[in-house]
Amino acid sequence: MSKAKAKESKDRKIKVVVSKVGLDGHDRGAKVVSSLLKEAGMEVVYLGMYQMPEDIISAAIDEDADVIGPSFLSGEHLVYTPLIVEEMKKAGLDDVLLVVGGVVPPEDIPFLKEMGVDEVFSAGSLTETFVAYIRNNVRQ
């Protein structure tokens, strides 16, 4: 690897696509998390509200994202997470981290992880915990 390439790779910021999904517009959490990840030195593409799974995946491909972060509130994680996982598989995004945030009952977390979600951060998570998780688990 050339020196220039190595430097670029070392300096490349972790890129995260954050999004609301479906009709739910409770976006306080998604926006705050986007700002905090930026402050932690990551590059964030915030897609905003009214995104469907296919919109999120196509953005992740276009942006060459390392992390996909959908944010849920109303229980719709059970509907949309399987669709996001399916779209990720179709697109071959095997090495992209899928990190779910928002209001998710603890009972659903094992189910989501079994399905292919890497981690879930519910409301009340401290910034240091999800920033560290992403840094430690993102593809190298």
């Binding site: 739910d24 517009g25 705050v32 905090l36 719709e76 509907v79 603890p106 409301a123 009340g124």
Partner: protein
């Protein structure tokens, strides 16, 4: 014989305790003495901080400017309304849960729209189908409203309809259509409708509530109810949702009042005098965790509203000057970590509401940050209210904190701070401009980020989150509320069937009449009632009005107008 002492005594392996931490806790004092909103307060307040001659600016309970409450006898006259918010699954599911809480001692019905309904989408809209019933109830047509209200005496109960967006006139029309069908005298209907479309753009409903339509629809409900349902509280301007965006207590009141003024100014523009309608204005207020700040906020709000109505708008009637409000305990203050702790938080917040002289109260359930309330969670929240009402003695005396050197000073301080925020909005050209230029969006974003950093940096303590966060549940203590998908599917099928089976000629005539009325800028509600009776749906009625105002038929821009 061996000596007993020689026998090895089994010693249980003891967990090490951090004694240094324990001793530090003994000597620990609070890190900060600021209020939740960051206001500085003194170590102690004395008579010097409240000279007796200042009392006339405060006034007795029931007297202008109502700092101490809008009634002299407060809860001796009547308890606050114990009104838990309900909305889940299908109209039938919501009806069933409502009856449970009636049985358990609730005293006011309070049903909340789900996201598709607030967006003005029918249950069978392609974007709605997955989400119907997840956060409330979806009323698409008259049949849904009849199901939700079945066998409930609408002329006797007080019903709070939580539809906040520009869809509020549809909800009002659907309720009136059902009441008319059952033969009730509209003059006897009592209740409230949230009807605050302007604020709802900050809660994720912007496509459904364009600013022009928000003010028009808000004022249409106010105008219609004033004429036809005089006992109805036609708006509860929602300060609560603003607070949930992360703003401070003074910002909550200042921004909410300025939004309220947009509706009042529109009514005046339509030729009404403030005393023609203002007596049925109401508010929805948050109660967060800082008890004294919340009580002071409410007392300051009452005083500011009274002065605004009397001095600025020239209201003569006492009832036009009174700040009437419901409280929703602060959902955003409740973390999912160690969720049983939320019962305690909610109880303190409810206490603040009652000490502040609340008219109607919703206590969150402890599982608010996890799922919709389970039946046991819902009932427990109602019990929190009942313990407060029936056990604590808090109802004995009006404004029990009135005259406290501290609380009167904090009330003054809150009043000052509220005026400061109002002046900031004036500087950017007033509330309409603050909204149009997205100045207000930036305020919310900045404040929300600050709130998270306060928790991250431990400037504010949240037990179970940034302190004492040792145990983290893997299950929810009273279970998780799930939505019955089959029940929702049945509702969606019924909507499709009704659309096919209605009298298409009559339906089309009524929908087109509604659109024409909206084009003439008339009040749309009488036309919506007729369209509802003719089988018109939420999405169709909203679409007709949207088209008349130059917006897309479908806020999601997926489907075309069927007429």
């Amino acid at each position: 014989m061996k000596k007993a002492t020689e026998k090895a005594v089994p010693v249980a392996q003891e967990k090490d305790v951090d004694w240094d931490k324990y001793l530090a806790a003994y000597y620990e004092k609070p890190k900060s003495s600021l209020t939740w909103s960051g206001l500085d307060v003194q170590e102690v307040y004395t008579p010097q901080d409240l000279p007796p001659e200042k009392y006339k600016e405060i006034g007795d309970p029931g007297d202008y400017p109502f700092t101490r409450g809008i009634h002299r006898n407060m809860f001796r006259g009547r308890y606050w309304t114990r009104r838990e918010v309900i909305g889940m699954g299908s109209p039938q599911d919501t009806h069933d849960r409502s009856k449970v809480l009636v049985d358990e001692g609730g005293s006011g019905l309070n049903t909340i729209a789900d996201i598709p309904y607030e967006m003005g989408l029918d249950a069978d809209h392609p974007w709605a189908q997955h989400e119907v019933g997840l956060t409330g109830v979806c009323i698409t047509n008259m049949y849904d409203m009849e199901t939700m209200t079945a066998n409930i005496p609408l002329d006797k109960v007080s019903w709070s309809l939580i539809t906040a967006s520009a869809v509020a006139p549809v909800t009002m029309a659907q309720y009136v259509a059902v009441a008319r069908k059952r033969g009730y005298d509209l003059k006897k209907l009592r209740g409230t409708i949230q009807n605050d479309p302007v604020h709802f753009r900050y809660c994720g409903f912007r496509p459904a509530s364009p600013l022009d339509l928000s003010i028009k629809m808000g004022a249409d409900v106010i105008e219609y109810c004033t004429k036809e349902i005089p006992q109805w509280y036609y708006t509860t301007v929602n300060l609560y949702d603003l607070r949930e965006q992360g703003v401070t207590a003074p910002q909550e009141v200042a921004l909410g009042f300025l939004i309220a003024r947009l509706y009042i100014d529109e009514m005046i523009r339509r030729g009404y005098k403030v005393d023609d309608f203002a007596q049925r204005f109401a508010f929805y207020v948050s109660c967060h965790i800082d008890i004294f700040e919340e009580v002071s906020k409410i007392r300051a709000a009452r005083r500011i509203w009274a002065k605004l109505m009397r001095e600025h708008y020239g209201a003569q009637k006492v009832s036009s000057q009174q700040f009437r409000f419901a409280v929703h305990t602060a959902g955003c203050s409740l973390p999912p970590q160690q969720p049983l702790n939320n019962i305690v938080r909610i109880a303190y917040q409810a206490l603040a509401a009652v000490l502040g002289g609340v008219q109607s109260l919703h206590c969150c359930s402890y599982d608010e940050p996890i799922c919709l309330p389970t039946e046991s969670g819902h009932t427990q929240a109602l019990r929190t209210q009942q313990i407060l009402a029936y056990e604590t003695g808090v109802t004995n005396v009006s404004d029990p904190l009135g005259g406290s050197y501290y609380v009167e000073n904090l009330t003054n301080k809150l009043e000052e701070e509220i005026y400061k925020v109002m002046a900031e909005v004036e500087e950017v050209g007033g509330m309409y401009e603050a909204i149009r230029t997205e100045w207000l969006d930036r305020v919310f974003e900045k404040e929300a980020l600050t709130r998270q950093k306060e928790i991250d940096d431990r400037d504010k303590i949240l037990v179970g989150v940034n302190m004492f966060n040792t145990e983290q549940e893997t299950t929810t203590p009273l279970g998780v509320q799930r939505i019955d998908r089959d029940s929702v599917k049945r509702q969606i099928e019924m909507v499709k069937k009704l659309k096919k089976e209605r009298n298409q000629t009559l339906w089309k005539e009524k929908i087109l009449a509604l659109r024409a009325a909206a084009e003439r800028r008339e009040n749309v509600i009488p036309y919506m009632i007729e369209a509802t009776e003719a089988g018109g749906t939420t999405g169709e009625m909203m679409g007709a009005v949207r088209l008349a105002f130059g917006h897309s038929y479908d806020p999601m821009e997926i489907i075309e107008a069927p007429f």
